[in-house]
């Protein structure tokens, strides 16, 4: 039996015009995983080989992929919640840059400890996100506009903070260097195999999965995205939840910024340019609807990995970067197309 999740009368009028071939519903439930598996298989097939070994499947390569997507992945997790409430957050890349700059500055210039620095930076990211959420939820300014402006403001603040240049991290004891502990972020654990950022990404992913399944907050997020008025009439504190969602997005962007600074031994105000679009792409490929109310964190994780594998296999094969742009464009549309097809079927 097909489950009809939308209101039948709201259907596009022409929906029944074409002959429809029916795809099992199960396919769509796992749509983003299906796409992920398809891309994974394609990557194996197209992977270069070295001494007969499939380079793509090399465990180090796979871990590299997770490391490479860890920042976008963390941004995308926050973005998932934002998009679930039918919002959008264009500022995450700029907040990442601000956080990376701030981290480097606090560690190197102000000689703060690691814990202090991380706390301050996370607080800044959260406050920035919450402010945007307040402007959008309370004053009713569209999230697209608020976060577009927020992007500029965060970028400007970061440049002013650092004087425009990146701040390099040097480790050691004493003044004017960062505590050695912070260099953990560019190291690997388990015998130097698993990159710490990949671990953090996995951790954030697990927490998000638990939050979505187990908390009242997540149910409220879905309800607001599905029907804000109904949510309000059910006594859900809509404004507070929306502000919280943007605050989470800002917090995670700041976390990604700290990781960014740690991974690259530097915080630069220009870091993270355009990351917001990659994060949004990961969320959408993962099956979350930009109209809100429908989507999963696990889909987003799959979407982020899919993008990472795509980048990796294109790079492994030395594909021309312009052709890469075309291929990525087409794959994003195809992924969204599957989804659109799905909702039309229903």
């Amino acid at each position: 039996m097909t489950v009809d999740t939308t209101d039948p009368v709201e259907k596009p009028v022409e929906q029944s015009r074409r002959r429809r071939f029916v795809i099992p519903e199960r396919f769509f439930t796992f749509q983003s995983y299906v796409a992920l598996i398809l891309v994974f298989l394609a990557a194996i097939i197209f992977s270069p080989r070295r001494n007969g070994e499939i380079v793509f499947l090399n465990s180090e390569n796979l871990l590299n992929i997770v490391r490479a997507v860890s920042e976008i992945g963390i941004l995308a997790i926050g973005m998932t919640f934002v998009i679930l409430i039918a919002g959008i957050d264009l500022s995450v890349g700029a907040i990442l840059g601000l956080a990376a700059t701030g981290t480097a500055s606090l560690l190197m210039v102000n000689d703060f400890g690691v814990a202090m620095t991380v706390l301050i930076i996370l607080a800044i990211g959260m406050a920035f996100g919450a402010t945007q959420g307040y402007l959008s939820a309370r004053l009713g300014i569209q999230a697209f506009i608020v976060t577009l402006a927020g992007l500029q403001v965060a970028r400007g603040l970061a440049r002013i903070w650092s004087g425009g240049q990146g701040i390099a991290l040097a480790y050691g004891d004493g003044p004017d260097v960062a505590p050695q502990a912070f260099s953990l972020l560019n190291s690997r654990t388990f015998n130097g195999t698993v990159p710490i950022p990949a671990l953090i990404f996995a951790g954030v992913g697990v927490i998000a999965l638990i939050v979505v399944r187990k908390t009242v907050f997540a149910r409220h997020v879905y309800a607001i995205g599905g029907n804000e008025r109904a949510a309000r009439l059910s006594g859900i504190p809509v404004t507070r939840i929306k502000v919280t969602v943007f605050a989470i997005s800002g917090l995670l962007a700041a976390l990604a910024g700290i990781i960014h600074a740690g991974q690259l031994n530097q915080g630069s105000p220009n870091d993270g340019m355009g990351y917001e679009l990659d994060a949004i792409a990961a969320v959408v490929i993962g099956g979350t609807s930009l109209m809100g109310g429908v989507g999963t964190v696990s889909g987003t994780l799959a979407g982020a990995l899919l993008l990472g594998i795509l980048n990796n296999i294109l790079a492994l094969n030395n594909i021309d970067s312009n052709v890469q742009l075309l291929i990525k464009g087409v794959i994003i549309v195809a992924a969204a197309g599957i989804q659109a097809f799905r909702s039309q079927q229903k």
């Binding site: 390569n61 190197m108 425009g164 240049q165 990146g166 701040i167 991974q263 312009n322």
Partner: protein, 318 residues
């Protein structure tokens, strides 16, 4: 040189200046200098602004105002127009691209405003002085360094390129190929595109490390990408198998000279900003009322661990 007021008016701005009416007020004047920067999001260009600011602070008569075109030719045209509206006395411009900025620079020049063009030329000769380095030359120097010093017996090179479509990326690639041509045993086995960015240098090189077993030298079009590649190699514990070279050698803590000094990069090549030189030229034109040469080509310098500390101390703005 221009102590007397009876100096001929053409003293300022070189012979090609069509507007002969400007008088040189010399050391008594106050001068507003407009600096139109292509994009401060590039560390090299931010450094150029910083150099200019630092140098201008030493000249009492100078006030410098800055505009940032954020990588947009059209914005830079408007920036120059706005400088003209404000009535600047001298224009320093580091054009985003040559052809699009030519017309507006020409206009400034024809209005009698001395123009110093930094780093990237404009077309024609409607400017007072060009100060810059030669990217092809630097690429060639890097190639020759690889061909003679690093890999005299040949070997495999990975190239990490800058943003496709940008002139320096093209020239640093072409020059490098010319430089290694002398040694036929050197092969460029892979090219990655790092868009000038550290993180893209890192992830691109991670993939290349997987695909390539034997890499001798990594040549990156700038230091950040070289540093990114180093991070990738370090994570794979392969950093000692190969040498990393970059370009730019900015004298800041996050720049390439420090990276050489600290042993991550084997070499980098100074791509001088010309900021200091531009203010010096401006001083000659406005304060000393002297004529200046049409071109000032800045030499690159090879930075290795031997000279890194010394050159850092010399070039740093502070």
């Amino acid at each position: 040189a221009c102590g007397t007021e009876s100096d001929v008016p053409e003293s300022a701005g070189g012979s090609a200046q069509p507007d002969e009416g400007t008088e040189c007020a010399g050391a008594d004047g106050e001068y507003l200098i407009g600096m139109s920067q292509a994009n401060v999001a590039e560390p090299y260009r931010q450094q150029m602004d910083d150099d200019i600011e630092a140098a201008a602070a030493e000249v009492d008569q100078f006030e410098v105002v800055f505009a940032d075109a954020a990588q947009d030719n059209a914005k830079q045209v408007a920036d120059v127009e706005n400088f003209l509206t404000q009535g600047i006395d001298l224009l320093i411009i580091s054009p985003n691209e040559a052809a699009p900025l030519t017309a507006v620079v020409e206009r400034a020049y024809n209005e009698g405003i001395p123009v110093i063009v930094l780093d990237r030329k404009i077309e024609g000769d409607s400017y007072t002085q060009f100060i810059g380095a030669d990217n092809t030359e630097i690429g060639r120097a890097a190639g020759e360094y690889v061909a003679t010093e690093l890999l005299p017996d040949g070997g495999s090179v990975v190239e990490l390129k800058g943003l496709p479509g940008s002139t320096p990326a093209q020239e640093r690639a072409d020059g490098f190929r010319a430089g290694i041509a002398a040694n036929p045993n050197i092969e460029i086995i892979a090219e990655g595109v790092g868009d000038w960015l550290r993180e893209k240098g890192q992830s691109q090189f991670e993939a290349i490390l997987q695909a390539q077993q034997a890499i001798d030298v990594v040549y990156a079009h700038n230091d950040p990408m070289a540093e990114g590649a180093y991070l990738a190699a370090q994570a794979a514990s392969r950093q000692s198998e190969m040498s990393f070279i970059g370009i730019d050698a900015l004298p800041i803590p996050s720049g390439g000279i420090k990276a050489v000094e600290e042993g991550r990069l084997s070499a980098t090549f100074v791509y001088p900003t010309g900021g200091k030189e531009a203010i010096a030229t401006a001083e000659e034109i406005l304060v000393q009322c002297a004529e200046v040469d049409k071109e000032q080509i800045l030499e690159t310098e090879l930075i290795t661990v031997e000279n890194a500390a010394e050159i850092y101390a010399r070039n740093a703005t502070q």
